[in-house]
């Protein structure tokens, strides 16, 4: 081996580092800086912008509390429903003869652009029953037309006469309707990845369980799910990050109005619509801090898997 100069690896890394620096490190540092400056990024204001997020002094224009809460809803509901549906469909489609067709049908939404899908679902949820498929179905079953994207009420009002308006209603009808569109788009992804994992489980294990007298539910619960758990974690991590950074779907369908704002739409609105770069940057930092642990966990996990390989 001919003597290599110390800077040779850096030379090869330089283009990648330069790109990362310009498009990743610089924006992050600048966002951090701006989050401590006033709305025109001129004077230092300390933690005022973060105080704004905590105090929520303008609940009409930028409801920070509702945005944070909605993000929690996206995080939990979107991830849980998508993983559960994806897993169920992976198991079920693996057992039918027309598996390829079924899987393709479920996977297709993934191939639709987010904006296009959002526009389609705006029509699906349309209040006018001549246009809105969902409301046409509801009314033909004897129900009443619901403003799916505007109604901020809680779904439990369907069951009781009228829900308690003053109590916090984390699950709003319209937020739930938006999350279901996200689920529609991502279930295919979860199903395909989980299905691949499922195919990796050797039939001997399943045969052995059957010989031991386990029924299908027990096999699913005690054999398949534990073996699949690393794959489930990977899928769930991807979905959690998707849920946290959700923007396009909300922006196209409601513009963040009717209390459907999430952190990503709110910081866009604060910075570029209202022109308050301070609060906008602070919200972006909050989102960054929120995503960070998820990233760390998934990177750790990746390293761990590499080591044990």
């Amino acid at each position: 081996m001919v003597g290599r100069r110390w800077w040779t690896p850096w030379l090869w890394l330089a283009p990648a580092l330069a790109l990362l620096g310009v498009f990743l490190v610089y924006p992050v540092v600048d966002t951090l800086r701006r989050s401590f400056l006033d709305e025109r990024s001129k004077n230092f204001v300390g933690f005022d912008n973060y105080q704004f997020i905590i105090d929520n002094p303008q609940p009409l224009v930028s409801d920070t509390h509702s945005a944070l809460l909605n993000n929690v809803m996206w995080l939990t509901l979107f991830t849980a429903i998508t993983v559960a549906l994806g897993l169920t469909l992976a198991v079920l489609t693996g057992r039918v003869r027309y598996e390829a067709v079924a899987k393709s049908a479920i996977f297709i939404p993934m191939a639709v652009s987010f904006v296009a899908a959002s526009v389609i679902w705006r029509f699906m949820y349309e209040f006018n029953t001549d246009i809105g498929t969902v409301n046409a179905t509801v009314t033909s079953l004897g129900g009443e037309s619901t403003a799916w994207l505007q109604n901020t009420g809680a779904p439990q009002t369907w069951l009781t006469e009228r829900g308690p308006d003053t109590l916090p209603q984390p699950i709003q009808i319209n937020n739930f309707a938006l999350i279901m569109v996200g689920v529609w788009m991502w279930t295919g992804f979860a199903m395909v990845v989980l299905s691949a994992g499922l195919k990796g489980i050797s039939t001997e294990v399943l045969e052995a369980a059957r010989v031991d007298g386990a029924n299908e539910w027990q096999i699913f619960r005690r054999i398949i799910v534990p073996i699949l758990s690393p794959t489930i974690v990977v899928v769930a991590t991807t979905l959690v990050i998707q849920g946290l950074k959700k923007f396009d779907l909300v922006w196209v369908m409601t513009g963040g109005r009717f209390k459907t704002d999430v952190v990503a739409t709110l910081f866009y609105k604060e910075a570029f619509r209202i022109g308050d770069f301070g609060v906008g940057a602070a919200l972006a930092v909050v989102l960054l801090l929120w995503v960070l642990p998820v990233m760390v966990i998934s990177i750790r996990r990746f390293q761990f898997q590499e080591e044990t390989r």
Partner: protein, 429 residues
């Protein structure tokens, strides 16, 4: 190894040469067009409106040899803020909202109209005083208005009115007359109103039009101006009264074909203009600005202005309206020539002829309008007893968004009006 190194060197040399050549060509091009070049314009128009705007600009391009690069976006505030913040503003901006205009002017980012020869005189001589005041920041005139829209128009179906013996109201009518007419129509079995406030991110603005129009007529111009400059807060009882009068229309049982708050919040403002003109009519009246005539003729292509659809003035005599403001970020020869053309009566007549354009330039005579409805709109704008610029567009910024959101929340939850008005006022900067 040697070989590949040399080819790299060659490649780099070649690339550098190409860049140098490109820069040289670019420089040369710039020098050639120093007189009248390309003007970079950021506006809100698309579709039909853009076709008409291009037609309006064509004569300028032919005369001067210049050209216009137009970017149209409904999200203009966002794009404009980003470009100004990034140090890359357009030459000319034509938005509908003046809040951001005042901010830019205050920060010294705009070019006074006096920097362009003859422009300030044209505007001061031919434009109504109210619009000149709106374009003035700290005593300097920075912008002028083109393409105005009256918002004092209540649309109805003349055939339906004649069949049932209803009388269109006049400017001299009162709010009580409007309620009496609504009750009469309701008693005959038709929902009197069609109301829809859905408009994506800006949902609620049609409701703010209602409230500003009621406020101007019931409380007067002084109160209206006070709400804009902040001397009268949204929590004032006269403002609250205007909200409640809007609620009287929107929330009275049976008054709207949308069936109340949920339907109003979920109905797009464009769709809300259709019901009175269906056969049979599903509602009798719809209140929306002059631009609604465009929605109606798009949907009902054989509808004749004045026969199948018409408007009567919002009772009370006062008229609110919106307009696009034109302002510039530099005083290049190209920019100045373009602004002078846009402000001129010759330029505006082109679009007036094509329809869908109301001019506030007094040199554009009423005879220029192609049909009775657009003429009546122009007349209403120029001869109104009291005229005020659109309330939320005059405020702009966060307070405007709070006003929008206030409308949708008020409809969903009318009992919390006091809290709501306090929260709207909290958004004032």
């Amino acid at each position: 190894m040697f070989h590949s190194k040399r080819s790299w060197l060659l490649l780099i040399l070649f690339a550098m040469a190409a860049f140098a050549l490109l820069a040289f060509v670019a420089c040369e091009e710039e020098e050639e067009e120093a007189e009248i070049g390309t003007v970079d314009v950021l506006g809100i128009w698309g579709d039909e409106e853009l076709v008409s705007f291009n037609a309006m600009v064509d004569p300028w391009e032919l005369d001067t040899g210049g050209s216009m690069a137009f970017t149209g976006t409904r999200d203009i505030t966002t794009v404009l803020t980003t470009r100004v913040e990034g140090g890359n503003p357009p030459d000319v901006a034509i938005p509908a909202e003046v809040g951001r205009f005042q901010q830019f002017a205050g920060e010294g980012r705009l070019t006074p109209l006096s920097a362009c020869e003859g422009l300030e005189k044209t505007v001061r001589d031919n434009y109504p005083e109210g619009f000149i005041d709106l374009g003035t920041v700290d005593g300097t005139l920075y912008g002028f208005f083109m393409k105005a829209d009256t918002k004092g128009t209540i649309w109805y179906n003349p055939g339906f009115f004649a069949d049932n013996g209803y009388e269109p109201l006049t400017a001299a009518s009162t709010w009580d007359d409007l309620i009496a007419l609504s009750d009469e129509i309701l008693a005959d079995g038709t929902p009197p109103w069609s109301v829809g406030v859905e408009s994506g991110e800006a949902s609620g603005w049609p409701g703010t039009d209602w409230i500003q129009q009621i406020l101007l007529n019931e409380a007067g111009g002084a109160v209206y101006d006070g709400v804009i400059d902040g001397s009268i807060p949204f929590t004032d009882s006269q403002v609250k009264d205007a909200w409640e009068k809007f609620g009287e229309i929107a929330l009275t049982e049976g008054y709207t074909v949308q069936g109340g708050a949920e339907g109003i919040n979920a109905t797009n403002f464009v769709d809300s203009t259709y019901p009175p003109f269906e056969s049979p009519p599903e509602a009798a009246l719809v209140y929306l600005g002059g631009f609604a005539s465009g929605f109606i003729t798009d949907q009902f292509s054989d509808a004749v202005a004045g026969e199948d659809f018409d408007f009567f003035p919002f009772p009370g005599g006062g008229v609110t309206g919106g307009a696009n403001i034109v302002y510039a970020f530099n005083d290049d020869a190209t920019t100045c020539s373009f602004l002078n053309y846009l402000a001129s009566a010759e330029g505006q007549r082109v679009w007036v002829d094509r329809g869908g354009f109301t001019s506030v330039n007094s040199q554009v005579s009423l005879d220029s309008y192609p049909d009775p409805i657009s003429r009546a709109q122009a007349e209403q704008l120029t001869s109104a007893e009291v005229f005020r610029f659109d309330l939320d567009d005059a405020i702009g910024g966060a307070l405007q968004l709070a006003f929008f959101d206030g409308v949708t929340q008020y409809l969903a939850n009318p009992d919390d009006l006091d809290d709501l008005l306090t929260n709207i006022e909290a958004a004032r900067e």
